[in-house]
């Protein structure tokens, strides 16, 4: 038998007749058990010890990362009877999710300090991250539905976690209403696809959908895509993003604009590659969504005077860029690498931007940012780096991501999409500079009150990572290049 050690091992495990390859879901198990431990701690610990739940959550995330890393050379395969993918794309998505969640935890410690339910929050955060992890690995439509559900149900609660704040409650409700609506559509779409294929595994769909009735196929795929667009924060189900960014707790906004997007984009990618292009023109469909998302997000952000809403709309437009990678799937070798690198770069930059927002106690008033570079140079630099990465200024991580994305869509024959992305990038510069310019060019005023050390460290660390990942892109690209997107 030849193959990498991981493949050999897996084959050995399979031949041993083990029908529960628990080893393939160790990170997921760690997250579940960790969440329960955090919950139990929160219920048992005295009030002043509640913030320790954050440390516990960080430990859980570290353990998850430790459990995930060895899977990188674990032989990329489908597991649990083709319902789950243990491939490098899933592994990397998990790592990004874990890192983003860890940064969110750091952002949350001081933000939720006065909250009596400090501990449960982290349990929910871990479970929400698990939802995204499930999405990233789902190779079965039912698993996709449940991933969406787990990630959403916790997300609604997280968005409404400030229980005495009307704005937070409103953000949660709006998030919920849109989510429930699109989830129902997602379900119906999955049902239609199931009807055509007689199965819900992606492997089965890939085999059975060839030559399937295209009316039902288009309807089913359309509904599923809309359902996942909700997770991704893409048109036409994007409306929740600015509301949550504005009304929800700021660390949660950072979390919800990053983590579900990672899972949702990977899930969508996994689905579209198995669809027969003859039966449903998914490529133009996704391209259209990408174009609409980035354009709409940018245009809306252009008029924002509220930094939080601006960040929300910016997150929408970034989703559009992410969708570009999907357009190139199967047509360009760069597609998978560009998707992963985009997710990594976006996650770091967005967390840095929201991190600065958190550290500034959620201040949304644009005018208040004037002179920040002199009063709080480190924060202003972090914010500037995050935005520069969004724009794609080299050598930051966002630049390599954009380069890969543009390369992928050009390679796939979608030059118009690349051109539109360029136009959008230029437009986006205008509103990013609206925030950054006053921080640098206006005289210093009284230093803005800040939140605390943890949040500052998380924001600055994310910003530093944006630089490091951009320059040391090879570290990641070397692995991304070999990553497979099962089941294709």
């Amino acid at each position: 038998m030849t193959g990498t050690p991981g493949e050999v091992m897996h084959a050995a495990v399979a031949s041993a007749g083990m029908d529960m390859p628990v080893g393939d879901v160790t990170p997921e198990l760690v997250l579940v058990i960790g969440a329960v431990i955090v919950l139990v701690f929160a219920l048992a610990a005295p009030r002043r010890r509640q913030p320790w739940a954050a440390a516990l959550a960080l430990a859980v995330l570290a353990a998850t990362a430790v459990a995930t890393l060895p899977m990188l050379d674990g032989g990329q395969h489908l597991t649990f009877f083709d319902t789950y993918a243990a491939d490098d794309v899933a592994v990397w998505a998990k790592l990004v999710i874990v890192a983003a969640t860890a940064l969110t935890v750091a952002l949350s410690v001081e933000w939720f300090r006065t909250d009596a339910r400090h501990g449960e929050y982290y349990a929910l955060l871990l479970l929400s991250a698990l939802g995204a992890v499930v999405l990233a690995g789902a190779a079965d439509l039912m698993e996709v539905v449940l991933g969406v559900l787990l990630s959403s149900a916790t997300g609604y609660v997280l968005a409404a976690y400030h229980r005495s704040s009307a704005r937070s409650a409103e953000a949660g409700i709006k998030y919920y209403l849109l989510g429930a609506l699109t989830n129902a559509g997602l379900l119906y779409g999955v049902v239609l696809l199931f009807g055509l294929a007689g199965t819900t595994t992606l492997v089965g769909l890939g085999d059975e959908l060839v030559g399937a009735d295209s009316t039902a196929l288009v309807a089913g795929v359309g509904l599923v895509v809309v359902g996942l667009a909700f997770k991704v924060g893409a048109v036409p189900a994007h409306a929740w993003v600015p509301d949550v960014a504005d009304g929800g707790p700021a660390p949660v906004a950072a979390f919800l604009t990053v983590v579900p997007k990672v899972g949702g984009l990977v899930a969508l990618a996994r689905l579209v590659v198995v669809l027969p292009e003859a039966g449903v023109g998914w490529r133009p469909l996704v391209a259209l969504l990408a174009a609409a998302t980035m354009t709409l997000g940018n245009l809306a952000a252009l008029w924002q005077d509220d930094v939080r809403r601006l960040l929300g709309w910016s997150a929408v437009s970034q989703s559009g860029y992410g969708l570009m990678a999907l357009v190139a799937l199967g047509r360009s070798e760069l597609a998978v690498a560009s998707l992963l690198f985009f997710l990594l770069a976006y996650a770091l930059a967005n967390l840095a931007a929201f991190g600065v927002l958190v550290e500034l106690r959620g201040r949304a008033d644009l005018d208040a940012y004037a002179g920040l570079a002199r009063s709080r140079p480190l924060l202003a630099t972090a914010l500037g780096l995050a935005f520069a990465s969004f724009v794609g200024i080299p050598p930051l991580a966002g630049f390599a991501a954009k380069l890969l994305l543009f390369g992928a869509v050009l390679d796939a024959g979608y030059a118009w999409l690349a051109a539109l992305a360029v136009v959008n990038t230029v437009v986006s510069l205008a509103y990013y500079l609206r925030v950054v310019a006053p921080t640098w060019f206006q005289p210093a005023v009284e230093p803005l009150p800040v939140l605390g050390r943890w949040a500052a460290m998380a924001a600055v660390a994310s910003a530093a990572a944006v630089v490091v990942v951009g320059i040391a892109a090879q570290v990641f690209l070397g692995s991304f290049e070999a990553a497979r997107l099962l089941p294709r």
Partner: protein, 494 residues
């Protein structure tokens, strides 16, 4: 050695930025010292450079960066990049040394200049398209901050306009770079390799789009009419040393890109469109001169002459790329002329903008009508300005003449009509500079300038090398032409 020329100022930028507050006063001498290092290094490189030595690049330094994508860190020089890099280094020293109002933030100011120096040298020295783009784009960032933070008037708006235009151009160029990259086999960003492969054959929509992308990116940066509208406000509102760098160094990145990338990597495609480029170039020449003629704002006037001068460069480049076969002589001359024009324009316009900075420092206005009869009051200032102005209008014996003569000599063989129209530009430039000199320096000295101080030692010291070089190139250009000529010849396939 070349890497050191990039990284010394880069590290220096970081050091200067992080100096303790009590050291703020020493930021300036430190910055000058750091800025001079690349100049020394490049002069050393010049000394080691062999004009006829083999085909391609010399003093190449390489390192793996992102092998997965075929990206490497690679720098090197040839007869085209070496003079530009050396001129840039010199101009940076002068610009940093030139007195400027740092508005209480000397560390940031000098740090940004050093940063920009590293970036600019990087653009000229890079031998990898990825690296080239990184530096190309970063130059926008550095300049944006310089203009927006230390400019006057509506500086932030001007800086934003500059940033938006050039970013749009550079992103179009990014797509074009990717188009080139995707066509290579195996995929690589290595310029040498791409020049060897010529991956995008002429003909077809693809090659035209790639060319269009590059052309847009470089045309905005150069700038060529009608992509120039960002330039006047940026120049006018920028602080004088930044204007000098912007005009002297950053504009060259566009024309340098045309030669280094478009002409070298897409010669056949460029040849198809060379007449169009030449047309735009002539339009720039005439339009720039005409509009400059109408200006009453000193800085705006100089800015428009830049449009005009970059038109000469582009005309030379278009002529050089106008054919792939046949007698390469005239085309090589045109390209040599274009390159010399880049160097000369950098020195001359750099000096002019620095002088404009002196005006602003004393009068807080650029309005030509406000000045008169300064010759008597400020002889050194007058001498320097007149010298630069005459060099700019192409007076024989000065650098501008050498360059423009060669450009037109080469172009006449290819596009006689366009060259003829272009000559009109020279006449107009002469007229406008003479008018300016007359307005500012001759006539009665108004009461309010009775105490006008002449340029001081520092200013003189900063200007002297620039103007001296202008004269040297004008009188004895051989040493420069030798370096450029072999490379130009190779580029046009002579």
């Amino acid at each position: 050695m070349l890497s050191a020329a990039i990284f010394v100022p880069l590290v220096g930028a970081g050091v200067v930025a992080l100096l303790p507050a009590s050291w703020a006063r020493r930021a300036r001498p430190l910055a000058i010292a750091v800025a001079a290092v690349p100049l020394v290094l490049l002069l050393a490189a010049w000394a080691r450079f062999d004009p006829d030595g083999g085909a391609g690049f010399q003093l190449v330094e390489r390192a793996r960066w992102i092998p997965t994508l075929g990206v490497s860190y690679a720098v090197g020089v040839d007869g085209l990049s070496l003079p530009l890099a050396a001129m840039s280094a010199l101009l940076f020293v002068a610009a940093i040394a030139f007195p400027a109002d740092v508005r209480g933030r000397p560390r940031t100011y000098f740090s940004l200049f050093l940063f920009l120096e590293a970036i600019s040298l990087g653009v000229f020295l890079a031998l990898d398209l990825f690296l080239f783009y990184v530096f190309f784009d970063l130059s926008l960032v550095g300049m944006y901050f310089l203009i927006a933070a230390w400019g006057h008037g509506d500086a932030r708006r001007a800086a934003l306009k500059f940033f938006l235009y050039t970013l749009a151009g550079s992103l179009a160029m990014l797509l074009a770079i990717l188009g080139l990259y995707l066509a290579t086999e195996p995929r690589t960003f290595d310029m040498v390799e791409i020049i060897r492969q010529q991956p995008v054959p002429a003909g077809g929509l693809g090659s035209a789009l790639v060319l269009l992308g590059f052309a847009l990116g470089f045309a905005v940066k150069t700038p060529i009419v009608p992509f120039h509208t960002w330039l006047p406000p940026a120049h006018v509102d920028a602080p004088a040393p930044a204007s000098a760098i912007l005009a002297g160094v950053l504009l060259k990145m566009g024309t340098y890109g045309f030669v280094r990338i478009v002409l070298s990597m897409l010669p056949a495609t460029f040849q198809r469109f060379a007449p169009v480029v030449a047309g735009f170039a002539v339009a720039s020449i005439v339009y720039g001169a005409l509009v400059a003629l109408a200006q009453t704002n000193l800085k705006r006037l100089i800015a428009y002459t830049s449009v005009n001068h970059m038109g000469y460069v582009m005309l030379g480049v278009a002529a050089a790329g106008s054919s792939l076969t046949g007698d390469g002589g005239p085309r090589a001359i045109a390209l040599t002329g274009a390159t010399v024009e880049m160097v000369a324009h950098g020195l001359i316009t750099g000096a002019l903008f620095l002088l404009a900075g002196s005006v602003w420092a004393r009068a807080e206005t650029y309005d030509l009508d406000a000045f008169s009869g300064l010759a008597a009051r400020a002889p050194a200032f007058t001498a320097a300005t007149v010298l630069a102005a005459f060099a700019s209008l192409g007076l024989p014996g000065l650098a501008g003449f050498v360059a423009e003569f060669q450009v037109f000599a080469g172009t006449f063989a290819v596009y006689p009509v366009l060259a003829g129209i272009g000559l009109l530009g020279i006449v107009l430039t002469a007229a406008l500079f003479l008018r300016m000199v007359q307005a500012v320096f001759l006539g009665p000295l108004p009461e309010r300038w009775a105490t006008w101080p002449d340029i001081n030692r520092t200013e003189q010291a900063a200007l002297a090398p620039l103007l001296a070089l202008v004269v040297v190139i004008g009188v004895a250009p051989g040493w420069l032409l030798d370096v450029i000529d072999a490379t130009a010849g190779r580029l046009v396939g002579r």
